[in-house]
């Protein structure tokens, strides 16, 4: 959304002018069109977990530009300035309606939430901690995919995170994933799709390839809601599309059922 003044802003979807305070109270969901605007990882943590229970881990992990990729260091610095973090994934432990979880939340504002070595490592550790403590893992995605600035290392994060998910699955430890806008490519094609239960926010972009690539490659018609949460729901890829305001309680119930025998 665009900021109009401190008191008002304009919804980037429906163009309606909204009261800033009401918009924030509404968890950044447009009161007029229902569009779920992106929120920061910190905000996500605040509205999802029991107050004060999120304990961040591995805050110090950072990329060291292993490929010496053009402009990568600058982008890392820019991301750090935008988010106050070293990389796109924040992880830790938290409680959700009194139940302990191993949690991770991605921040799109850090290099488009892309997954390089640090994000992959944090996701793997999130799942491994869940296995170790026998508590559910809960992960919020917000990503354009793998981070190409780390080349093949980024591709390998797909395998690494998938391996962790498989281990959790084999050990009977639940993993619930929440797709937020956007959840794409290398992340969707690895750990995100391996969750036991997948929830998604309405209208999130969820897909494998950029829409342009898909349309070029395909012979068929591109549906209007292509690569949205709703499209993926229709095609059986998502368990439920859940309003932001209901996510916390839905998550709590799912986590409760799946950890009944942990």
């Amino acid at each position: 959304m665009q900021v109009k003044s401190d008191a008002f802003l304009r919804c980037s979807k429906c163009r309606k002018v909204l009261f800033s305070k009401e918009f924030e109270r509404n968890l950044r969901v447009c009161g007029s069109c229902g569009h779920h605007h992106r929120i920061s990882a910190d905000e996500r943590i605040r509205i999802t977990f029991d107050e004060g229970t999120f304990q961040e881990l591995d805050r110090g992990l950072r990329s060291c530009d292993p490929l010496e990729f053009p402009d990568y260091r600058e982008k890392l610095e820019k991301g750090a300035k935008a988010t106050g973090r070293h990389d796109s994934v924040i992880r830790g432990t938290a409680m959700i309606e009194g139940r302990p979880v191993s949690a991770a939340v991605a921040d799109f504002a850090f290099m488009g939430g892309s997954m390089g070595s640090v994000a992959g490592e944090k996701i793997a550790r999130t799942i491994e901690l869940a296995i170790e403590r026998r508590i559910p893992a809960v992960i919020f995605t917000a990503t354009g995919g793998a981070r190409m600035q780390e080349g093949l290392l980024s591709l390998m994060q797909m395998a690494k995170t998938a391996a962790a998910c498989r281990k959790a699955s084999d050990e009977g430890v639940p993993f619930v994933c929440v797709f937020t806008d956007p959840t794409m490519a290398g992340v969707l094609a690895s750990y995100a799709s391996l969750a036991d239960v997948i929830l998604a926010e309405p209208g999130a972009l969820v897909g494998f390839a950029g829409a342009r690539v898909s349309a070029q490659a395909g012979v068929g018609r591109v549906p209007d809601n292509f690569q949205t949460s709703e499209y993926n729901f229709e095609h059986g890829m998502i368990d439920a599309v859940v309003q932001r305001k209901d996510l916390r309680s839905t998550l709590a119930r799912v986590v409760d059922h799946l950890s009944a025998n942990l």
């Binding site: 110090g60 080349g151 690494k160 998938a162 995100a192 490659a217």
Partner: protein
């Protein structure tokens, strides 16, 4: 810098064509003329070999990309034909369809019954369309998964030949969950209690490659590439210049040597002199030797060890530092 495979190979092809022409003259020529021709041919061949040695001796990332994608490079079924006996191709994902871009079957390598999967490209236009340019759809990965599970059930090793520009990005692939299929492919490979070996024979294209590539051993042919994104795609995103593939290829470090240096693959398999397409039989022999050697090494391990080994291998991948005191 050559932009296409044909541009790259043209001088060589011209030379080889010339040699062939001279050779065709020999039988018709009188004895003294023939001897002269033979000498000429020998000279040209020497020239060609020198040329080859120079040209193929120090290939850069972009040149390797061109070679890896060459339309006369050996494809998966060429290796199957060369090194597999008692081959039975199996089809279908038992869900939706049979993906011709992903082949699967049972066969023996050095007398050992294996499950074999791999992307298959087509050589001529018709075959290329039939094989969807080696871009597998969800049903391709699900066929592979069915094979991985079968391998696990019956204790057969898995050999995975990787040669794909990418998984199919079309609307119908999206509609049937190409992302889920790739993720499930990796998950399945991490679950099996049998030796698994991936061989990247041409293009190791991103998710499309790793979906059947999360194996105990990952081998790469000398001129194959392995990348998180096609160089042209990378160039288009970063510099809005899809033609800057050469620049992106260097930045992405997508060669076998880079992958080995980063500890992401286990071995580089040498190709025949002048690339795998110059002597497919010799290259196949090298592939067979490497595969059999790794297979015999892995076959001594029990199920748990194979799984643990695979987990540890991929778990260790990633380069980062831990800087506990966060400062901007």
């Amino acid at each position: 810098m050559a932009k296409t495979w044909h541009e790259w190979e043209k001088p060589l092809l011209d030379l080889e064509e010339g040699i062939q022409k001279l050779r065709d003259l020999v039988p018709k020529a009188p004895p003294d003329k023939a001897a002269q021709l033979e000498k000429q041919i020998e000279e040209f061949e020497k020239k060609r070999d020198t040329f080859l040695r120079v040209k193929y001796g120090r290939l850069g990332p972009w040149e390797r990309t061109l070679v890896a994608r060459a339309d006369n490079r050996p494809y998966t079924l060429d290796y199957v034909r060369a090194i597999v006996t008692d081959w039975v191709e199996l089809h279908g994902d038992r869900r939706y369809g049979d993906d011709k871009a992903m082949i699967a079957g049972l066969g023996k390598i050095d007398g050992i019954s294996c499950v074999i999967v791999g992307q298959q490209k087509g050589r001529d236009l018709k075959q290329r369309q039939f094989r969807n340019f080696g871009m597998a759809k969800p049903e391709g990965y699900r066929k592979a998964i069915r094979m991985f599970e079968m391998a696990d059930r019956f204790g057969l090793p898995v050999i995975s030949f990787i040669d794909t520009p990418a998984a199919d990005p079309g609307v119908d692939s999206e509609s049937r969950g190409i992302s889920e299929a790739i993720a499930a492919g990796m998950s399945s490979l991490f679950g099996v209690g049998v030796p698994t070996i991936a061989v990247i024979i041409g293009e190791g294209g991103s998710g499309g490659a790793i979906g059947i590539g999360a194996c105990n051993r990952v081998l790469m042919l000398e001129n194959s590439i392995y990348s998180v994104i096609p160089p042209e795609g990378c160039a288009a995103i970063l510099w809005r210049e899809p033609t800057a593939g050469d620049k992106a290829a260097s930045a992405l470090k997508l060669t076998a040597q880079h992958a080995l240096d980063l500890g992401l693959i286990d071995e580089i398999i040498p190709e025949s002199f002048g690339g795998a397409h110059r002597n497919p039989a010799e290259t196949a022999k090298n592939v067979e030797e490497a595969v059999v050697r790794h297979l015999r090494e892995l076959m001594v391990y029990d199920r748990d060890t194979l799984r643990t080994d695979r987990y540890a291998k991929f778990r260790a991948m990633g380069v980062f530092t831990a800087d506990e005191a966060f400062t901007l």
